[in-house]
Amino acid sequence: MARTLLGASIFGATLLAIMVRPYRIPEAAAAAVGALAMMAAGIVAPADAVGVLAGQLNVYGFFLGLMTISAIADQAGVFTALAGGAGRWAGGSSRRLLVGTFAIGTVITAFLSNDATALILTPAVFALVTRLRLPVLPYMFACTFIADTASFLLPVSNPINILIQDGLGGGLLPFLRYLLLPALLCIGLNLGAFLYLFRADLRQGYLLADLPSTEPSHRPYLRATLAVLGIIAVAFVLATSLGVPVAWVALGGAAGLLVLSAVHRRLGWGRLRREISWSLFVFISGMFLVVRGVENLGLTRSFGTALVDLAGRSPLRASLLTAGGSALGANLINNVPMALVMVSALRSIGTTPSSHQGLIYAAMFGCDLGPNLTTVGSLATMLWLLILRRKGLEVSSVQYFKLGIALVPVMLLLGGVLIWLRS
């Protein structure tokens, strides 16, 4: 009993530190201290810890490969070129440019995952829109929102999906069966809501002459990089449908791009090293061990059993609660620990009845969509506050704000119902 209390306290304190970040402690440090505490308390044995971390090589490889691919693609000017392409396609209409931004955001998220869109496409679009003398906020919002809304199009669209599928099994087909429809619906809803919300800002046109042009000397390298990215995208789809670990594709693709950039003499090791977030590996490793601790104590099993009881009585309510609860947890704390807790809980109950399988995808859906309100969401919230300040106390701005906050719950509700219908 004392041991359970101690483990639960370590878990709670770690999550609290990640959420509140007292003294601006990095999340990675909080997770690492939590993991060491779990081991010091004897809740996670050293051999167990090694086993847990060794079992996650696919996740590590996927993260590393993906970050490398995104960084090299950025250095090759892929994101800037895509934003410019959207600008040419839109032909001077700011409304069409928003649609184009959603389209490239969706494709980049689908194949290179959400962070590529949130962290690399956003500045590229920001620069383009500033240059075209259009209001930047609608486009910034579009990028940050679509990064999470398109996160459940494919298993590789968000590392959280890989984390959950590695823990609970599943492949491309069950993924698409449960999540393709919710994904398309949420993307459409998101786009429609933005076109409506920002309709007053989207009436101006822009001059095509203001669009940037790629320097001719860059073009061969840019084209070759795009071609390799296309191959990587196809390989991701094949790997997930054949059950090949996606880390191989991510690392192989990264290696291919490294060779390509070396051949074109564009490889900057120092810059590449800085673009990769090494602390992320410490953070996820720490979280693996902390969650393993509460799993060893049987806490996630009780959570899972409670969920099954609920699912037995009302599958729809279970689906909605799982999606909503995961989203809330991903929002308040972080989607990595939330996903790990859900994996552990759902694994303990087994996934044989199809209603349980629906719960896996409901959890994934919630964890992917949730951060729209805080992690990227902390940015979204900041932006909404900015809009409020800019608009003064006008009534329309309060409605603006409310609609933004209302968008995610509506998407969660629709997605939860759709996943339940498929179970």
Partner: protein, 163 residues
């Protein structure tokens, strides 16, 4: 007379023509464009915030932007030049003595501060930068920048409405 004319991202030429209608040409016209730094701060919070991208390494001059920051700075400079150029051409055609100013920060505060620094007798501001959806009259027709300037400017203010 020293006139400060705050030029938004669009419509600088039209704004100068409206000033001409009211004041006539024989004045010093200070054309000021302020780049709103708010959205960019939010973007930098995202890039260097808890979500992953580390800040530029120490030892490097932080005032020298690299990567995406450099591209955004270039785009801002280019847009500012185009905005001021458009207004300047109209002002010179009208016969004003023309002075150009660019700044980055909170537009409402910088407009007021510059009006004071330059000893202007008149500050010109558009009622709202909003698109066609903004109402022509009523409280919502005056945006927050214009309202702040009306409240705080040390001189007379000419509020230009969209026609």
């Amino acid at each position: 007379m020293n006139i400060l004319c705050a030029v938004g991202i669009r419509g600088g030429g039209e704004l100068v023509r409206r000033v001409l209608e009211v004041t006539g040409p024989d004045h010093d016209l200070h054309l000021l464009h302020v780049t709103d730094a708010g959205p960019r701060h939010a973007l930098e919070h995202l890039l260097h915030g808890p979500r992953h991208r580390p800040p530029p390494p120490p030892g490097r001059d932080p005032s020298l932007p690299t990567g995406p920051e450099r591209r955004i700075t270039e785009a801002e400079e280019r847009a500012t030049a185009a905005i001021l150029d458009e207004a300047r051409r109209e002002a010179e055609r009208a016969g004003f003595r023309c002075h150009l100013h660019a700044a980055s920060g909170r537009p409402e505060q910088l407009v007021v501060a510059r009006a004071e620094e330059l000893g202007c007798q008149l500050a010109v501001i558009r009622a709202s930068e909003g698109g066609a959806g903004t109402p022509r009259l009523g409280p919502a027709s005056v945006g927050h920048t214009a309202r702040f300037v009306l409240d705080h400017a040390p001189c007379d203010v000419l509020l230009v409405r969209s026609r």
